[in-house]
C-alpha cells in the first residue's frame, strides 16, 4: 500500500494550507482530521469541516479516501467550523435554566413581585403548572443524559448563547405571568385545568416514548440511520402518520399547558416552539425521503395529513 498525499486548501480562498502524507486509500476523513489537528493544533477535529468541492457539501467522518475518489495529490477543501461546544453541554445549559428560573418565580415570588406577594395564596392551577413545567424540563435533562444519541458531537459555540436566551427568556416570560399575584385562573375552572393536565401528561408520555423508540433505533456508539417505525408502545403509533411524532407531542404538551393556565405568554411560547419544530420536522422528513427509497409516503412531517 503506497502512502498518499492529500493537499488541503482553504474552501473560501483556495489557498494551500498544507499537504498531509501518510494516508491510505482506506483512511477515513476522521484520520485526515486527526492528522490535520496534529499540524494545526488550534483546529481540533470537531472544528474541521472538509469538502471535495469548495462549494459542495461537507464529507462525513466515516467516508474513506477511496470512496470519495481521492488519489495521490488530490485536494480537500477545509472549512473552520468555529469554536465548538458539546451537544450535551448545550442541552444541559439550555434546559437547566428554565427549571431554575421558573422555580424562582414560583417559590420566591417576593423577589419578583415585592414583599406582599409572599403572603398571597396561589390558585390550584398555579401549583399544577409549576409541577408540569418542572416535570417537562427535568425529563429533558434526564433524556439528555440517559436517552439521546447524538449524530454530531458538537455544535458552534454561538448556539449555546442563542438557545439559552430563547429558553431562559421564555421561561421568565411565562413564569412571570402564571405566578403573578394578579393571575386569573381559567374561565372554565376545573374542567379546563384538569382537561389540560390530562392532555399534557399524555403528550409528555408520548414524547418520551418516541425518544426511547428513536434511541433503540440506533445501536450504541454508531451513527446508523434507519426508518423509525411504530413499536409495541401505542404512543409510538403516531409514526404511522408523521415523521417526527416527538415534535407533534411536544407541541401538544405546550398547547395543553396553555389551555390549562389560560395564559397568552404560554401560547406565544407554544407558537414559537411549534414554528421551530415544524421547520426541523420538514427538514428531517425531506432527509428521510431522500435517504430511504421505501420511506412511507403517507407520513406528514409534524401535523398528520396537514404539514
Amino acid at each position: 500500500m503506497f502512502s498518499k498525499r492529500v493537499q488541503i486548501l482553504h474552501a473560501r480562498s483556495g489557498e494551500l494550507i498544507t499537504s498531509l502524507g501518510d494516508l491510505q486509500p482506506k483512511s477515513t476523513i476522521y484520520d485526515v482530521k486527526k492528522a490535520f489537528a496534529k499540524e494545526k493544533r488550534k483546529y481540533y477535529p470537531d472544528r474541521q469541516g472538509f469538502k471535495t468541492d469548495p462549494r459542495g457539501k461537507m464529507v462525513k467522518d466515516g467516508d474513506t479516501l477511496e470512496s470519495l475518489g481521492l488519489k495521490n495529490g488530490s485536494r480537500l477543501y477545509f472549512k473552520d467550523l468555529g469554536p465548538q461546544v458539546g451537544w450535551t453541554t448545550v442541552f444541559l445549559t439550555e434546559y437547566a435554566g428554565p427549571l431554575v428560573i421558573y422555580l424562582i418565580f414560583y417559590l420566591r415570588p417576593s423577589i419578583v413581585y415585592g414583599e406582599d406577594a409572599a403572603e398571597l395564596p396561589y390558585a390550584n392551577v398555579v401549583h399544577i403548572a409549576a409541577g408540569c413545567w418542572s416535570f417537562h424540563y427535568a425529563k429533558r435533562l434526564l433524556e439528555t443524559v440517559f436517552v439521546h444519541r447524538f449524530s454530531h458531537a458538537t455544535m458552534p459555540i454561538a448556539n449555546i448563547f442563542k438557545n439559552s436566551v430563547y429558553y431562559w427568556g421564555f421561561a421568565a416570560f411565562v413564569a412571570y405571568f402564571v405566578n403573578h399575584p394578579l393571575y386569573t385562573p381559567p374561565a372554565y375552572g376545573d374542567l379546563q385545568v384538569y382537561g389540560g393536565l390530562a392532555a399534557f401528561v399524555i403528550a409528555e408520555l408520548g414524547n418520551l416514548s418516541v425518544h426511547i423508540a428513536l434511541r433503540n433505533l440506533r445501536p450504541p456508539g454508531t451513527k446508523e440511520r434507519k426508518i423509525p417505525r411504530s413499536t409495541s408502545n401505542p404512543f409510538t403509533w403516531l409514526f404511522g402518520l408523521v415523521s417526527c411524532p416527538n415534535y407533534s407531542y411536544e407541541a401538544t404538551a405546550w398547547l395543553a399547558f396553555t389551555v390549562m393556565t389560560q395564559c397568552l405568554p404560554a401560547g406565544l411560547f407554544m407558537l414559537a416552539g411549534f414554528y421551530q419544530m415544524a421547520v426541523w420536522a420538514q427538514g428531517k422528513h425531506r432527509n428521510y425521503l431522500k435517504e430511504f427509497k421505501e420511506y412511507p409516503r403517507r407520513r406528514a412531517a409534524i401535523v398528520p395529513f396537514v404539514l
Binding site: F177, H180, L182, Y183, T184, A187, Q262, C263, L264, P265
Partner: protein, 244 residues
C-alpha cells in the same frame, strides 16, 4: 435607524435582481415595478418640494407636519408593497430584512407620530423628514435605473455618500421624536394592557418604546459601518461592472 435600514436593504446587492429568471423576462412585472418606483420617486419629490416651500415661506417648523401629513402617510405606508414584492419573489431582496426596514418606518409614522399628536410640532420631525425624503428620492431613482439596466454613476455616488450625514441626522430625528412621545404615552396608557385580565398577559407601550430607543444603540453603528464598507467597495472602482 429607519433611514439607515432602508439604504441597507439594497446595499447588500447592487440594485434589485429578479428572484425568478422567468419573471425577469416578464415585461408586465418590469412595467409594474417601474411604475411603482416612479410613483414613489415622484411622491417623495413632491414631499420634498412641499417641505422646502413651507420652510422657505413660513419658516415655521411647528406647522410643517400638518402640511405634509397626507402625502407622507400615503407614500411611506405604500412602502409595505416592498415587503410583498420581496415575499412573492418579484424582487430579489431578503423578505425579513425588507420587512424590518419598512416596519421600522411605518411604526414611527403611525405608532408614534400619528398616535401622539403632541410630537408633531417638534423640530425633530424636520430632521427625519429631510433624511427620509432625500434618501427615498435617491433610492427609488436608483431602482428605476436598475430596472432599465444601467445606473448613472452619479446616482450611485449619491446613494453611497449622502448617507454619511443623512443617517445621523435621520436617526437623531427619529430617536428624539420617540423620546418626546414617552411622557404622553405614559400618561395616556395607550396601546397597553394591564393585569388582571383573562389572557394573563400585560403589555406596556411605554416600556416597548423605551426598548425601541435602546435598540438604536447596537443597530445604528452596525448599519452605518455596513454602508461605509459597501461604499468602499463600490465607489473606489467606478469602472467595475455592475453586479446584477
Amino acid at each position: 435607524m429607519a433611514t439607515a435600514t432602508v439604504k441597507a436593504s439594497s446595499a447588500g446587492g447592487d440594485g434589485r435582481r429578479k428572484a425568478n429568471p422567468n419573471m425577469g423576462e416578464n415585461n408586465a412585472v418590469k412595467a409594474y415595478l417601474v411604475a411603482y418606483n416612479v410613483s414613489q420617486m415622484l411622491g417623495w419629490l413632491v414631499l420634498m418640494i412641499k417641505i422646502i416651500h413651507h420652510m422657505a415661506a413660513e419658516q415655521d417648523v411647528e406647522t410643517l407636519y400638518a402640511q405634509v401629513e397626507p402625502i407622507l402617510k400615503i407614500f411611506q405606508t405604500a412602502a409595505v408593497m416592498e415587503m410583498v414584492h420581496s415575499a412573492i419573489g418579484l424582487v430579489k431582496s431578503n423578505p425579513v430584512l425588507t420587512g424590518f426596514q419598512v416596519f421600522s418606518r411605518v411604526f414611527l409614522l403611525w405608532g408614534v407620530v400619528w398616535s401622539v399628536p403632541e410630537v408633531q410640532t417638534t423640530g425633530y420631525i424636520l430632521c427625519f423628514l429631510v433624511a427620509w425624503t432625500i434618501t427615498e428620492i435617491i433610492r427609488y431613482s436608483f431602482y428605476f435605473f436598475s430596472l432599465l439596466g444601467q445606473v448613472p454613476y452619479f446616482l450611485k455616488w449619491c446613494r453611497y455618500t449622502f448617507f454619511i450625514i443623512l443617517y445621523p441626522i435621520g436617526v437623531t430625528g427619529e430617536v428624539m421624536t420617540i423620546y418626546l412621545a414617552l411622557p404622553h404615552v405614559l400618561e395616556s396608557d395607550m396601546y397597553s394592557v394591564s393585569l388582571p385580565n383573562t389572557a394573563n398577559i400585560s403589555f406596556s407601550y411605554y416600556y416597548y418604546l423605551c426598548f425601541i430607543i435602546f435598540s438604536y444603540l447596537p443597530v445604528f453603528p452596525q448599519l452605518y459601518g455596513h454602508m461605509l464598507a459597501q461604499r468602499k467597495k463600490i465607489i473606489s472602482s467606478p469602472q467595475r461592472p455592475k453586479k446584477e
